[in-house]
């Protein structure tokens, strides 16, 4: 087990390095000049040149990458002399559009996205798996057909459509709540929580539909396994057969999928955040793309990728705990 963990962690570090190089190169070869974007209409060739020097874009690529990595671990300094300013570790860059350290930007946005993603994940996992298990146990009868039909409709629609429908129904038609506006937790915890209800439900609907189908199929596969027949042949009650034998094996792949989906959402929930006006990472990413704010885009892509890689590691390690066959080899 120990060597397995070490190998997996080593592989994860290599993947993070490869990912950062790829992202960095991708944005370095883009035709837009980040230095030119710092001054807008007042730009003169002299100002652009000066900004290039100040931001380090005049140096060769590998030096730029070195500075970038150094910034993440020990922080870095931009410019020199009186115009110099500090970007403390972990420094992911400096946004001249917003005149802010990228790290601070991400720090302020990530919690919003995290609350949204985790809340939705809890909803869809409970809802999706319960419906899926029920459908599998009632296979071919009306609970199965009804739930799977609904699920098919649910995941046939794009997220923004479901989001808008929910918005229309809840806010404008049924008037259950007012259009939520995001309020920081410290200002008003209730208003803060309210802002998350609809985005979480929207995401949960989209994912629960998928998870219900996934769970149903996993459970049906598992219920057909020989060891389930063995469990019945022992004289176990149906509850023990399902609860102890079928769920353990049937839900393990669900955990894998959930870990990766959650990590994917942590990288930014672009559409839902836009529909419901949540200031999360997805909203930051979209606005930065529209403004060609390269340092921010680079950082968001890196953070999103890191979540996926980390989630992969966590899922693999969890798998080894749950499935003894993974531990050896």
């Amino acid at each position: 087990m120990g060597s397995y963990v070490i190998r997996r962690v080593g592989a994860m570090i290599l993947m993070l390095v490869a990912q950062s190089i790829a992202v960095f190169l991708l944005f370095a070869v883009l035709p837009s000049n980040p230095a030119a974007l710092t001054c807008g209409k007042t730009c003169t060739p002299q100002v652009i040149k000066a900004n290039e020097v100040r931001l380090g874009y005049d140096k060769p690529l590998y030096v730029q990458y070195g500075l970038f990595v150094k910034g993440i671990f020990v922080g870095r300094e931009y410019g020199s002399g009186t115009a110099a300013f500090e970007c403390p570790a972990p420094c992911l860059g400096y946004s001249f559009n917003r005149s802010e350290n990228v790290t601070d930007l991400i720090k302020s946005r990530l919690p919003v996205t995290a609350v949204e993603a985790v809340g939705a994940c809890i909803l869809w996992l409970t809802g999706g798996t319960l419906v899926g298990i029920l459908a599998a146990l009632k296979r071919g009868r009306w609970p199965d057909r009804l739930s799977m039909g609904t699920a098919l409709i649910g995941y046939s629609f794009p997220t923004f459509f479901i989001g808008l429908v929910i918005q229309y129904l809840v806010i404008f038609k049924l008037r259950i709540m007012a259009y939520p506006s995001y309020t920081p937790f410290a200002d008003d915890p209730v208003a803060w929580a309210k802002a998350f209800i609809l985005p979480c439900i929207t995401l949960a609907v989209v994912y629960a539909a998928f998870y219900a189908r996934l769970t149903r199929n996993q459970m049906l596969d598992t219920l057909g396994e020989d060891y389930i027949r063995t469990a019945r042949a022992k004289g176990l009650s149906e509850r023990a057969v399902i609860g102890r034998h079928a769920l353990r094996a049937g839900l393990t792949p669900i955990m894998t999928a959930a870990g990766l989906d959650l990590a994917g959402l942590l990288g930014g929930v672009v559409i839902t955040e836009q529909v419901f006006g949540l200031p999360g990472l997805g909203n930051l990413a979209l606005n930065s793309v529209l403004a060609s704010d390269l340092p921010v885009i680079t950082a968001v892509v890196l953070v999103a990728g890191a979540f996926i890689i980390l989630a992969n590691l966590v899922v693999d390690l969890l798998y080894a705990v749950i499935d003894p066959r993974v531990r050896v080899g």
Partner: protein, 344 residues
Amino acid sequence: MSAFLEIEDLKVSFTTEDGVVQAVDGVSLLVAQGRTLAIVGESGSGKSVTSAAIMGLHNRRRTTVTGSIRLDGEEIVTASDGRLRELRGKRMAMIFQDPLSSLHPFYSVGKQLVEAARVHQNLSRSDARSLAVEMLNKVGIPHAEQRADEYPHQLSGGMRQRVMIAMALMNDPELIIADEPTTALDVTVQAQILDLLATLQDELGTAIVLITHDLGVVANTADDVVVMYAGRVVERGSVRDIFYRPQMPYTWGLLSSLPRMDNDRSIRMVPIPGQPPSLINLPTGCVFRPRCEYHQFVPDGRCDTERPALEDVAEGHAIRCHLTQADRARFAAERLFLPTKEGA
């Protein structure tokens, strides 16, 4: 000797999209304590369906079972789910074909044995664990104490099947159904497992139903044999009846498709031509008729029009066949190079 397991006119059918499959049609058999009955037949002959019906492991919603299965006099076909659960694992246990897929991959073998015991016996965890280790010892697993903490994938195929046998024995059942217990194993290991079953049977007096398509296994282990074809018993007798005095063309076919060591090499293995029939729309007449080489010796086309009944040809030996006794003796001798006079 009273029979522990009595099956009378068992019929099992299930509904599929293509129609009603009559998987078992009128099977009757008896197994006494301490005896081994082998059920022999090709895939689809109904032997596994019969065993599932005994254990009550068939899908109850889609399967219709009629007739009678009595376990020590108690009717099983009409028993409630709850009563069946009490009997399963306690008075009758089952050993399956593929021990790797039949053991839960996520639980240690010890845990799975402990669970089997604690369903039916009021045992503490540690007592159940001691019993599990004792059973693993009994089925010949070395270092049973350590092995109990291992997972099925860490054991060899033979060891896994020993674990399955140990699991079946946890509650000291009176009947063990072994469904192709050696099919997934190496030949050398097959013999060990069969020996183990025979030894345990001598010691515990268990009745065994052995389901197999391997006549070699039958010859070594069974007391009585039932040959099944298309859901019916086509020949039934003692192991000596079946091997030395087979009376039914299908049994001849099975025997002559086996390699033989006791004769010279001029005897060829002869496979049975054709395929087993679909169980949805069985032909009228004898179910084996389309594959039978001898039907033209029966006058008036009776093989096409009339289902032969299961009739006794000797004490404890019954067959379904329209051939006359003289014809059967002649063809059996030709086909199998049997001594025409009883010399076995």
